[in-house]
Amino acid sequence: MKRYSAFAIAREAVRHHTGWDRAWRDAQPKKKYDVIIVGAGGHGLATAFYLGKNFGITNVAILEKGWLGGGNTGRNTTIIRSNYLQDPSAAIYEKSRSLYETMSQDLNYNVMFSPRGVIMLAQTQHEVRGYLRTAHANALQGVKTEFIGPQKVKELVPIINIDGPRYPVLGGLYQARGGTARHDAVAWGYARACSDMGMDVIQRCEVTGVRTEGGKIKGVDTSRGPIDCDKLGGVVAGHSGHLCDMAGFRLPIESVALQALVSEPIKPCMDVVIMANTVHGYMSQSDKGEMVIGGGTDGYNNYTQRGSFHHIEETVRALVETFPMVSRLKMLRQWGGIVDVTGDRSPILSKTPVEGMFINCGWGTGGFKAIPGSGWAMAELMAKGHAPLTDEFSMHRFREGKFIDESVAAGVAH
């Protein structure tokens, strides 16, 4: 792999950009791999990357039915934060956020991580109490957040209307080290690094069956023929239930559509990420100048990657009230992704009833921020059979009643 650098740009500039390599090989599937990861989204690629980097396992294939990062990795609103209430969540999300800080250097790929700060607005007394509690919990967890008053919110976000009328801003939970990153670049950077380690990133290769023998994983059937493996990692977000059906067990997951939209590009007007959970909306400004807006999920199961129109209306209505100036903006694009939601709204990183098969899913409406941490933990789980960061996220926690009750943080925006 040729390293990307300022020098490389200068070198290529003088030879008309003829020397750039493909970022990753267009690999053909082999007969057998040590590890197969199903799903080349952020989480799947990160899992493969840390399997190679931390555990030296490089005979790995990452199978993707569509194109790389074309699922939720390319469809989210790119928010990165780790201000969670419960210890297990804070641990994995904070690990993730800290890995984002050095990701561009680690991957030699500019993921444009921008720690611009995230404010979760408190617009009711209940939210004020909830976020004060979270801020205190974060202090104990070593996650730097603070509860700020409405004047400080206004200082950080001059375009906000803090006076209501329906939901005045009473304060906010501020994580200065949260922010955004370029979502496609995260997938591309991991894919490039994985390919460089000798892993096969195989696109347009849909898994059509999971083969087991005596309760042990044997391999998968794909649209490009059967492939054997010793270990299988299922990292397919909204289609996790579908994959586990093939393997013969069930997951406590429901798949729903979550949508986002962007406005026409405007001049820089807001340099933090704002989340308003009471009114169901969140917004940030991309480097291109578009306002990136996310809202709520559909209320019913579906796999359509579209989302209902009335949810856009609700989201935009809420944001117009909080940011009056956006009322004049035209919206450019809208899209949806299929998110996998568990009973307690927390993810599942777990062994499964099939020996040698692991599952990483349930990130629901907030998976992007967790990509590196999730990959780090999942790789350890797959390599060693257990990992401290995944202990609490077993798929069997529902039976045991050991929920990770983050629904407060994850029911809406995430």
Binding site: R250, L251, N302, Y303, T304, S308, H310, R399
Partner: protein, 109 residues
């Protein structure tokens, strides 16, 4: 946008008039049931890619609960039927079979 017909009051409306109530025909388990049964009942939801049966409520209308058969991929609504039943009616199942041969949902097909 889904278009549903409430079988209680007969009104046909857009999905904003209704509220989705989750999986239909749940078998309820309480004290004395096994852990498997209780976990299934509380958390193991059907999540099919295709034909699905759900509970809906006509919140901005007559307020009554009812059932709907719907496709989670095409968003086609095959039909709605009364809440007071433990299984989808035979004529609705036949209608779905015409459109999606070989469909299954839990023990139904």
């Amino acid at each position: 946008m889904l278009i549903l017909t409430c079988p209680c009051c007969g009104v046909t409306g857009e999905e904003t008039e209704f509220h989705a109530g989750g999986e239909a025909h749940l078998k309820r388990f309480g004290p004395g049931s096994s852990e498997d049964q209780f976990e299934e009942y509380l958390f193991m939801r059907e999540n099919p890619k295709g034909v699905h049966f759900e509970r809906w409520r006509h919140v901005n209308g007559c307020g009554k609960w009812f059932h709907a058969a719907r496709n989670t991929v095409t968003l086609e609504v095959y039909g709605t039927y009364a809440a007071q039943t433990h299984e989808p009616p035979a004529d609705l199942r036949d209608k779905i079979t015409e459109k999606v041969p070989g469909w299954t949902w839990r023990e139904f097909q």
